[in-house]
Symmetry: C2
Subunit: 365 residues, 2 copies
């Protein structure tokens, strides 16, 4: 049997509560289906800082590198606002992304039918929405150098960040987007600011060339990123797959997530390149939502995004398509049953806590 | 009588049609109210490129520098997609902003009551919405150097843009935001990505210090820009004034504009620093919408954003508060009368063309 090692990094805030439900799920799968998952657990973010003075220890990084997949909860909280920039909670996540070379961040924005009414957008605008945002995750302004604050004297400082993209980075992320589009509605929209940014000019050029060379069967459109944000709000169903850079992807995927009314339910996958020999890709799965320190520890957090992230893990890291489909169906079924955590509760539904929600999904699986 | 010189730059696409309505309005004000406006007109964008091979000529730049205010229509269109980056239509607008030192871009996102139903958001989410986005306009990744594409050989290129902010730039834009908040609901939200960008760390630090030193009577909040985008979609009425950098401001103001269902109606003002002697600020006023080449020349474009931009001009450049209020009231009245251009038409309203809409507003003024 192929190895199935999972490295769990629950992190801070509601991360551990959400992860607890996935642990129950893994135990149930091992016991009832003989899935054979082997898990280990580490620290990331504020809790890692508290324990080791860094946002992730080298030992845990090694475990993450060695695992078949990493499950990540959430990091950060006001407690760690004062810690130095280099060891702030987010640095742990950024190091994982960079060192594991997880350049492809897949963020589906789907609107669960049971929740269409809870969006701030009109029901007809979001009902049936199913977009996939493919965000470049290891380049751009997140990692470009120089990145520094210089003291100019005279009370003046200068903050500098650098946006950098090379041809190969744009080629490989657009390849991922085109491949995925073929399994969906076969339509990719690329977003950048070529009217202002040179990296945007190159982005546009390379996406266009990649399309022409290898994916001309896929429909390709280009949109300026600001217009793209507008169009997401105006009529999101015009999109199928959106491919964009690290920073625009951060902004646009958050807007897209909020459209669905299902923020607490949206998963993401961050993937590396397939290994030349084994075809295996390094991978990290995490909810789109953050650590929500305000509700942490109360047992009311929505575990669905974390569970749905595990469903993506089954699909992309282990090829367990049947199980992934089953788990996603179980989530939909529980929502159809009317169970809701507080963040998505509405009149006529039954409010449940984190553990109850997790149990209900496992029971329906 | 103080001088009242206006330099008109209608630009491309629907720019000239929209500007034509403002010209009628200016003529009417001169004739009936003796307002004494003196106008001159130039070329910017694609039409300037066609005439002079640049996106704005030095002669027109000189006129813009000398005028009391610039009224700007819109630039760009597919015709000019192939022109070199340095002389693309947008370069004219960017040169105006930079050379006139128009660092403060004010973008109100208001929801006209008559249009609340036409937003893609639920009526209760946007009804009565009145946000002001204060966007830094002469710094950041728009103008930072290096900004280039390097040929690395081997078929690889590298696209580079640089995000740069100095203390004084953040100080002066946050000053504008705090001052404006005092005339509104006294609440500023600053947005950046300090968890990823050093310029964001500096931004946060300087806004906080400026607040403490001079504006501690104003309520100040901080939000990460991605979370800010989410919150704009979730519950925009939580905001009063939002202050943010050039690129985030570009994205966030477009999202905010689309929320209102009134994109074709939203104006903006770009202001410089008050002159040390005269107190006068250089200023440019432009609609938030673009050149809409698909509907250009058909006489169906919505002139309201351009007219509302002129209302901002009356208010900010000439202190003509009564006239500005009157013009804004005339716009609202015409909408209440049920007149609509095609972009905002709905059942039970009367569809009119660009000129009819302009005439109706002038008649109501
Ligand atoms: C936590 C933060 C560093 C991160 C990012 O900016 O990428 C988050 O917003 C995300 O989108 O995953
Ligand atoms: C036309 C373009 C250069 C401009 C910008 O990016 O600033 C526009 O999108 C805007 O927001 O005024």
């Amino acid at each position: 049997m192929a190895s199935k090692t999972l490295f769990l990094l629950p992190g801070d805030g509601i991360g551990p509560e959400a992860m607890a439900e996935v642990k129950k799920l893994i135990a149930a799968m091992n016991e009832k289906l003989g899935s054979g998952f082997v898990t280990d657990e580490g620290l990331v973010g504020g809790c890692a800082y508290d324990a080791h003075g860094v946002a992730i220890s080298d030992a845990d990084m090694e475990k993450a590198m060695a695992a078949d997949a990493v499950l990540f909860g959430a990091v950060g909280g006001p407690k760690w606002d004062p810690v130095p920039y280099e060891v702030r909670p987010e640095a742990g996540l950024l190091r994982l992304r960079k060192d594991l070379e997880l350049f492809a961040n897949l963020r589906p924005a789907i609107c669960y039918p049971a929740l269409a009414a809870s969006s701030s957008l009109k029901q007809e605008v979001v009902e049936g929405l199913d977009i996939l945002i493919v965000r470049e995750l290891t380049g751009g302004v997140y990692f470009g150098e120089p990145k520094q604050i210089i003291d100019l004297g005279n009370g003046q400082k200068r903050g500098i960040d650098t946006q950098v993209y090379d041809t190969f980075e744009i080629e490989r992320i657009s390849g991922v987007a085109f491949e995925l589009a073929r399994t969906r509605k076969n339509h990719v929209t690329s977003m950048e600011k070529r009217n202002v940014m040179k990296s945007g000019v190159l982005w546009n050029e390379v996406v266009t060339a990649t399309h022409k060379a290898k994916y001309s069967d896929v429909k390709l459109g280009h949109m300026l990123a600001d217009a793209g944000g507008m169009q997401l709000v105006r009529w999101p169903k015009q999109f199928d797959v959106i491919v964009t850079d690290n920073l625009f992807g951060d902004m646009l995927s958050d807007v897209a997530a909020m459209l669905t009314g299902s923020l607490g339910m949206l998963p993401s996958a961050s993937l590396g390149a397939p290994d030349a020999k084994t075809g295996k890709r390094k991978a990290l799965y995490e909810p789109v939502h953050g650590s929500a320190p305000d509700i942490a520890g109360k047992g009311i957090a929505n575990p669905i995004a974390m569970i749905a992230s595990f469903a993506m893990c089954l699909r992309y890291s282990f090829g367990m398509v049947k199980e992934a489909d089953g788990l996603e169906a179980a989530i939909a079924a529980v929502l159809d049953d009317g169970l809701r955590t507080r963040d998505i509760a509405s009149a006529g539904t039954k409010e449940v806590g984190t553990a109850e929600m997790g149990d209900a999904i496992i029971a329906r699986f």
